[in-house]
């Protein structure tokens, strides 16, 4: 190789290197320009993506908003109650996906009535599949005790699976932060969101229970299960949080089970003697109305539960369920 060639090669190498250096400089400058932050972080940055739950309600039909069915057999009463509102076909269309949110708060056996009745849950799942033509039904809750134990011991896990529903247990990555517009308490708070993100319809199933802090736990209080984080802080203002839950969650249908009612020692109960048979089951598109009727099973008046009035004021429904012309029936 001649010296000339060598020099040329050197020169070419140098130009290549200088080019790369120039590109590096440009890249460093560009990155610095793009990420430059003259202000610095604010008091609370890094807020996760804020989401809101979809509205799952169906269009109202006069006189078919709430039904109250008497009878000891939940399978029969729930069939009847939904039937009176126009049947499950009105709520679930073929090919739709449905989430059912039973109250699975505690790892306690079905007989204690602290959780939703498994047969009732299974029957609703079956209705969704057989008559509603649902493509997929999910059963989900974010219980207070360990979720796996709750679903197992309450019998709901097994009953739901046997009816072909998919049980969705809470996991960290299923929670998203939400802020309720017009809300005071639900602000940038994690809620159990993912299972409800892509579904078409939402059905709540809750037993009627005495509740130490709020007076009564029924279909509105059932949505407490959607709250994540250190949610017990909300017990400081239980009436507002229940009312805000009623604003945040707009279910297709709620089923309030007063077949047996936990009259005392709620919400956990613990003894069969806490229960009383009331043989009543309510299906309603209006949670406030359902709970306003439901509280009478506990011997309470609407005025005893301030969250009812609050929810009504917030537009979540009416406490004056009579105006909805409830359909009554009895099945034995």
């Amino acid at each position: 190789m001649s010296e000339d060639n060598e020099k040329k090669l050197d020169r070419r190498k140098f130009i290549a290197r200088a080019g790369k250096a120039a590109i590096s400089l440009a890249a460093a400058g560009t990155v610095a320009y793009l990420v430059y932050d003259s202000k610095g972080p604010g008091p609370s940055t890094g807020v996760e993506e804020i989401v809101t739950l979809p509205d799952f309600t169906v269009s109202p039909q006069a006189g078919q908003t709430i039904s109250i069915v008497k009878g000891p057999d939940r399978v029969k009463t729930v069939d009847k109650a939904i039937g009176l509102l126009g049947g499950i076909e009105r709520f679930v269309k073929p090919g739709e996906t449905v989430a059912i949110k039973p109250n699975v708060a505690f790892a306690s056996p079905p007989m204690l009535g602290a959780t939703a009745n498994p047969e009732l849950v299974a029957e609703v799942v079956r209705l969704c599949y057989s008559r509603g033509g649902a493509k997929k039904v999910y059963v989900t809750d974010n219980p207070i005790n360990d979720p796996a134990s709750c679903f197992r011991l309450s019998g709901i896990g097994k009953a739901a699976s046997e009816a072909n529903a998919e049980v969705v247990m809470p996991k960290d990555n299923l929670f998203k932060h939400t802020t309720l517009s017009g809300g005071r308490l639900i602000k940038d708070w994690p809620i159990f969101y993912e299972p409800f993100k892509n579904i078409d319809k939402l059905i709540g199933i809750a037993p009627v229970k005495d509740h130490h802090r709020s007076g009564a736990s029924m279909s509105m209080k059932n949505w407490y299960g959607l709250l994540g984080g250190r949610r017990n802080i909300f017990h400081q203002d239980i009436n507002t949080i229940i009312a805000e839950l009623a604003m945040m969650v707009r279910p297709t249908l709620v089923i309030l089970d007063g077949t047996t009612v936990m009259m005392t020692n709620g919400p956990t109960g613990g003894s069969a003697s806490d229960l009383k048979r009331a043989n009543t089951l309510i299906a309603s598109c209006d949670m406030v109305a359902a709970d306003s009727y439901g509280c009478s099973l506990l011997g309470l008046a609407v005025a005893d539960l301030p969250y009812l009035a609050k929810a009504e004021k917030a537009g979540a429904g009416t406490t004056n369920y009579e105006t909805l012309k409830p359909k009554f029936a009895t099945v034995s």
Binding site: D10, K13, F14, R17, A18, K20, A21, S24, L25, A28, G29, V31, A32, V35, Y36, D37, S38, G40, P41, G42, P43, S44, T45, G46, R184, L185, D188, G229, R230, I233, F234, Q236, D237
Partner: protein
């Protein structure tokens, strides 16, 4: 004028400047106090700080833009920072020189040869950057543990300066104390003394910043190299080679720290700083295998969930990590805090302390308030820590934001935590001894500590009257301790009568204060009781901001009877105690 001489001047200049910045980091307006001295300048010039925070936060905070200057100069010139600017590098350089002074030329050449282990620093760099780079897994900024600038800043400010200043008291009127300074000291001196083994041990084997410069400088326009191939191979160029970069053979550009000693030592003037590559050829890439790279990357990524196994960012959050006012929410805080110690250095009350590992490994050397150290908790009217934080892990808040006044009235004050009274240790609660030190010292207005008044009969305070007048009661018992009841906190009650304040007592005589005399004179032989008036402290958790003054002042000096814990801190919504209404 020789370039190596200029290099030494530059090193002395920057080292002195660095020490000066450490000295002036005291709040005040004298020229040797903080004023407008850019005390964070070295941290801002440090591109590892900038790149680390860009990875964790996707932003480049204000003056960290200085790092762009360093980066650009490195891309053009090579690793100049290490031998010209870095105060830690200069220290190593000097100590390494002292350590090898007595050695023969051959030994020196041997000491400064290239070693395979020099790739360790790249592994460290990749490991730390991997910890910072993958938000889908979780990120944490740990570069500051080994980044030389935060390391030397921390070591000088929290260890050396307090030791030296104890004798002269320039940087602070009172001695400064830092918990766990021993560990900082141990690491610092280990790094310094390793130079006696191999010069610039830290720079060659450990320094992640050096590694970063090594990578950034690979396309440098000018580089050290031989300008012709005729070389007698005397290896004198390696006698004082600071980088251990083999200038005698195929020079390793990524290891060369531009000390220019090789050029100076080459008798034949073969070595120069030039645009063409060294005539025998050069090695630009760091000597790190693909396997080592992947391994360090993977372990860095997995290290974050690993250090977080303690769930210190979740339900098991560390309530003793009381962060300075303006600190970001914990996860964001950890993605910015360099552990440089500037906040701890500047804090006028010395209450900000380097944290330990009880709060998780990530908590190490991060700022945590210890109200038992320092002059008085977190001073109400001070915002110094946020002003000096180079990365805004502690935001530069204003006083009105801190106190929740003016435009921040609606948001309310910044709370660091909440004070809790330990009723098992508190003098009036547990021992029936009067004390309201915490209430008196609460700096808030209205105070967050209030008291409940109670009168309790003292031990052996049930006495029988021997003789009584309006002002004096003589007792049958002669067991009272002289003067014990004369503090104004003790009252004497007779059956059916009102409590009268005791003015003085001897062993069997109680003298009542004259200002009130509507009690009746107890009959001879009747029973009187000596009661102590207690004002038991209670906390108004809606008012308490967790400044820790009460804890600092509490006379129960060991485990304080009133202690601040981070519950209720405003920066983390999850640790709040109350719903905001």
């Amino acid at each position: 004028m020789k370039i190596v001489q200029t290099r030494r001047t530059s090193q002395i200049f920057f080292f002195t400047l660095f020490v000066w910045f450490c000295i002036v980091s005291t709040v005040g307006e004298k020229f040797w106090q903080i004023r407008g001295w850019p005390i964070n300048w070295f941290l801002q010039l440090d591109p590892l700080v900038a790149i680390g925070t860009i990875l964790t936060t996707k932003t480049l905070y204000r003056a960290l833009l200085w790092a762009l200057v360093t980066v650009c100069l490195t891309i053009i010139l090579g690793r100049f920072f290490c031998s010209w600017v870095c105060p830690f590098g200069s220290l190593h350089h000097f100590v390494g020189y002292l350590g090898s002074r007595e050695k023969t030329t051959a030994q020196k050449i041997q000491l400064n040869k290239y070693r395979k282990a020099q790739c360790i620093k790249y592994i460290i760099l990749v490991f730390f950057l991997a910890m910072a780079a993958f938000p889908s897994i979780a990120v944490t900024l740990q570069t500051g543990l080994l980044d030389p600038i935060p390391l030397i800043t921390r070591s000088f400010n929290l260890v050396l300066l307090p030791i030296v200043d104890r004798t002269v008291n320039v940087a602070s009127a009172m001695g400064r104390f830092y918990e766990r300074a021993w560990l900082i000291l141990a690491i610092f001196f280990t790094a310094v003394f390793l130079n006696l083994l191999i010069p610039r041990f830290y720079c060659r084997f450990i320094c992640p910043l050096g590694a970063l410069f090594g990578i950034l400088g690979r396309f440098a326009i000018w580089r050290i190299g031989k300008n012709k191939s005729e070389c007698i191979n005397c290896k004198l160029c390696e006698k004082y080679c600071e980088g251990g970069c083999e200038p005698s053979g195929n020079i390793r550009i990524s290891e060369c720290v531009l000390c220019f000693n090789c050029r100076d030592d080459c008798k034949d003037e073969i070595i120069s700083y030039q645009t063409q590559i060294s005539s025998p050829g050069e090695i630009t890439d760091p000597d790190i295998s693909r396997r080592a790279f992947v391994l360090s990357l993977a372990s860095g990524i997995l290290a974050v969930p690993a250090v977080r196994l303690g769930n210190k960012l979740g339900a098991n959050w560390y309530h003793k990590a009381i962060r300075p006012p303006g600190a970001l929410a914990e996860e964001e805080f950890l993605s910015r805090c360099l552990k440089c110690g500037q906040c701890m250095r500047v804090c006028p009350t010395n209450v900000i302390q380097p944290g330990g590992i009880d709060g998780g490994l990530e908590n190490l050397w991060t700022p945590v308030l210890n109200n038992r150290i320092g002059s008085s908790g977190c001073q109400l009217n001070c915002t110094a820590c946020g002003q000096v934080c180079p990365t805004s892990a502690i935001r530069p808040i204003t006083l009105s934001e801190k106190l929740g006044t003016g435009e921040f009235a609606e948001v309310g004050p910044i709370r660091l935590g909440t004070a809790f009274v330990d009723r098992n240790r508190c003098l009036p609660w547990a021992m029936d001894k009067p004390c309201i030190v915490c209430q008196e010292n609460c700096p808030l207005s209205p105070k967050a500590i209030y008291t409940e008044e109670i009168f309790n009969t003292v031990r052996e305070g049930t006495l029988t009257v021997k003789k009584a007048t309006e002002k004096k009661i003589e007792t049958v018992e002669e067991t009272l301790v002289l003067g014990r009841f004369s503090t104004g906190d003790y009252y004497c009650t007779s059956e059916g009568g009102e409590g009268l304040k005791i003015a003085a007592n001897t062993k069997n005589l109680i003298e009542l204060t004259p200002d009130k005399k509507n009690g009746k004179i107890p009959a001879e032989g009747s029973i009187i009781e000596v009661k102590v008036r207690l004002q038991r402290p209670l906390i108004d958790i809606e008012k308490c901001i967790g400044c820790g003054v009460c804890e600092h002042e509490c006379p129960v000096s060991g485990k304080k009877a009133i202690r601040v814990s981070a519950e209720g801190e405003t920066r983390n919504a999850d640790s709040r105690l109350l719903l905001k209404s």
